[in-house]
């Protein structure tokens, strides 16, 4: 017996009820829909029911199954008549047996309501004046109770922010005209993108070249587990379009680089740096100066983070004034670990600063570095000053060059799994992770040396100039920066394992089979 059936024959309710009997059931509720003699003020003589059978049976069965699962009832069954019916005939029957009456009643109500709304069955009413008319099956059981009116317009969408006297209708219009570029759609980008779209920012560009990995999900709350492996820029765009269909989204599914940065900056009023990469942050800094575009920077580390707004139009100190010597090494989330809400808080702060900038609200960060430790809630706002001899912002915009990978960074990243198996043994693998990282996740599948980065002497590197080396860390960031240092010192055959130890272990065991 299907849980939902169409029947061209009159229904035997006694038989139908007996089909739902069960020793576990303590009650039974049913609903019967009858053909009545009037509809909307017209006398009805008889009815004809017609169904799109294949779809009706499938959808009806789905509804009854939903009711059984949702309300935990013992059994349920629904039969709908098709064909000619007379006044007083039984048109639809729903029966539910359950342990207790409460769930029997609600499941029965749920089934008939859903059947009327979702199952393609139509009725043709033959009125007593000889006229006929097709009516949707919704009218089977009499007029619907009045439904609460759905908001017909989007007028109410932003009322809670328009209510702020500093925002108002004018502020909302400014947001709807704003164009914001978000670089990086990860832990920082997730909340930043959601709040910007929700606030009604008119145009958002999402620049992100990565695909979603399972290890992203604990902090990148824009995504779902079923999306692992997909392009983050595309799925972020899809989520944001659902959140606010009025926001125009542009997907830039490649990494920002010296070739595309200037043009992307020129197309936007404000940029959010939600990246996890120092090199990229300095590229954004240079592009900000070249194009006079403000950038809201944020970075997190374990339980804390830093927030810095740089608006070149105000003469504020740039990122290079804060870090005069571009730091070569800064641990990323992959290496140092991070608790999900930490980028959540900082991405939200970025959205807040973005709205403050777009709405010209008071208290905008300018040239200060905000540091906040979420374990202790200790925070510090540090004033920076513009460096008179800053390598970047002391120049005129057209003199500023966007940084490109240096000669020592070319062909630096390598994946051992992609190396010809006959050549793999030529590389000496060096695990440069610290001892506690190695203990927690040892590299077991291939022979290697271990020299922790903190003990690796750059003055007298413990390696041979002509020997090929492959350095490996947790994610590929530290190994990359150490490899650059070593190449600058004449060790030309040093490479960095892409993706770090997980990739190496996995890729090698797979490739070596």
């Amino acid at each position: 017996m299907n849980r939902f059936e169409l029947s061209a024959e009159p229904l035997d309710t006694g038989k139908l009820k007996n089909g739902l009997r069960h020793a576990r059931a303590g009650g039974f509720a049913s609903f019967e829909g009858w053909v009545r003699n009037h509809n909307e003020g017209r006398d009805v003589g008889r009815l004809e029911y017609e169904a799109f059978a294949a779809v009706a049976e499938k959808e009806g069965t789905r509804i009854v199954t939903e009711a059984i699962e949702r309300f935990g009832v013992t059994a349920a069954h629904c039969v709908h008549r098709v064909g000619d019916l007379r006044i007083g005939d039984l048109a639809v029957w729903v029966g539910v047996s359950a342990e207790h009456r409460g769930e029997a009643f609600v499941a029965c109500r749920y089934i008939i309501d859903q059947i009327k709304a979702r199952v393609p069955i139509w009725k043709k009413e033959h009125y007593s004046d000889g006229v006929t008319g097709w009516v949707n099956c919704e009218r089977v059981s009499g007029p619907e109770p009045p439904q609460p009116a759905l908001p017909a317009t989007t007028d109410g969408l932003y009322v809670r922010q328009i209510a702020l006297k500093e925002v108002g209708e004018n502020g909302q219009r400014l947001l709807s005209e704003a164009r914001v570029l978000v670089v990086g759609a990860g832990g920082l980008g997730s909340p930043a993108l959601m709040y910007l779209a929700a606030a009604g920012v008119g145009h958002i560009g999402i620049c992100e070249g990565d695909t979603l990995e399972a290890s992203n999900l604990h902090r990148q709350v824009l995504y779902r587990r079923s999306q692992v492996g997909q392009s983050k820029a595309h799925i972020a765009a899809q989520q944001l379009r659902e959140l606010n269909p009025d926001t125009e989204i542009t997907v830039i599914d490649v990494s920002l680089d010296a070739d595309n940065a200037e043009s992307l900056f020129n197309q936007h009023d404000l940029v959010l740096d939600c990246s996890d990469n120092l090199k990229l942050k300095f590229l954004l800094n240079a592009a900000a100066l070249r194009t006079s575009t403000p950038v809201v920077f944020a970075s997190v580390y374990q339980y804390e983070g830093q927030l810095h707004v740089f608006d070149p139009r105000t003469g504020a100190p740039c990122l290079r004034c804060v870090w005069p010597r571009e730091p070569n090494v800064a641990p990323t989330c992959n290496e140092a670990g991070v608790l999900g809400p930490v980028p959540g808080v900082f991405g939200s702060l970025q959205a807040m600063e973005a709205l403050k900038q777009l709405l010209s609200l008071p208290g905008r960060l300018s040239g200060e570095l905000l540091m906040l430790d979420l374990l202790s809630f200790r925070s510090t706002k540090i004033s920076a000053s513009r460096l008179a001899d800053c390598e970047i912002c002391s120049r005129t915009p057209d003199q500023i060059e966007l940084p490109r990978p240096g000669e020592f960074e070319i062909a630096l990243d390598m994946d051992l799994a992609e190396v010809d198996p006959g050549l793999r043994n030529d590389y000496v693998v060096i695990d440069i992770r610290e001892q506690d990282e190695v203990s927690a996740r040892p590299l077991t599948t291939l022979p290697h040396r271990h020299i922790a980065m903190s003990t690796f002497s750059l003055d007298a590197p413990p390696i041979e100039p002509d020997q090929p080396y492959l350095l490996c860390c947790a994610s590929g960031t530290r190994s990359r920066s150490l490899a650059i240092e070593l190449r600058q010192r004449g060790f030309a055959h040093v490479y960095s394992q892409t993706g770090g130890v997980d990739h190496l272990d996995h890729g090698h065991s797979r490739g070596g089979d």
């Binding site: 990086g184 990860g186 832990g187 920082l188 980008g189 939600c274 990246s275 996890d276 990469n277 120092l278 942050k281 944020a298 970075s299 997190v300 580390y301 374990q302 804390e304 983070g305 830093q306 804060v322 870090w323 010597r325 730091p327 070569n328 090494v329 800064a330 641990p331 990323t332 989330c333 140092a336 991070v338 980028p343 570095l369 540091m371 430790d373 374990l375 202790s376 200790r378 510090t380 706002k381 540090i382 004033s383 920076a384 000053s385 903190s454």
Partner: protein, 80 residues
């Protein structure tokens, strides 16, 4: 001797094993203080890779320190 309060963020917090400490030091500048603390806590970052902050302002390494100063050493962080 000078008494200063030093705050640690990020990798310094891990390596010092504390968020802050009161330090009695013979150092007269931020740079000397960092060198002294490197010896004490085995900090792994070279001074060139970080910034010193004295009383909530970024400071050069030769900035003098005096009693009661609040000193922070800030490493760059890049996670996101």
């Amino acid at each position: 001797m000078t008494q200063v309060n030093v705050q640690y963020y990020a990798i310094f917090r891990e390596q010092a094993g504390a968020s802050d400490e009161s330090v009695e030091t013979g150092a007269t500048t931020a740079g000397e203080l960092y060198a002294e603390l490197c010896d004490r806590h085995n900090f792994s970052l070279p001074a060139a890779a970080l910034r010193a902050v004295v009383n909530e302002e970024f400071a050069d390494w030769d900035t003098p320190i005096s009693d009661g100063d609040r000193v922070v050493f800030i490493p760059p962080v890049a996670g996101g």
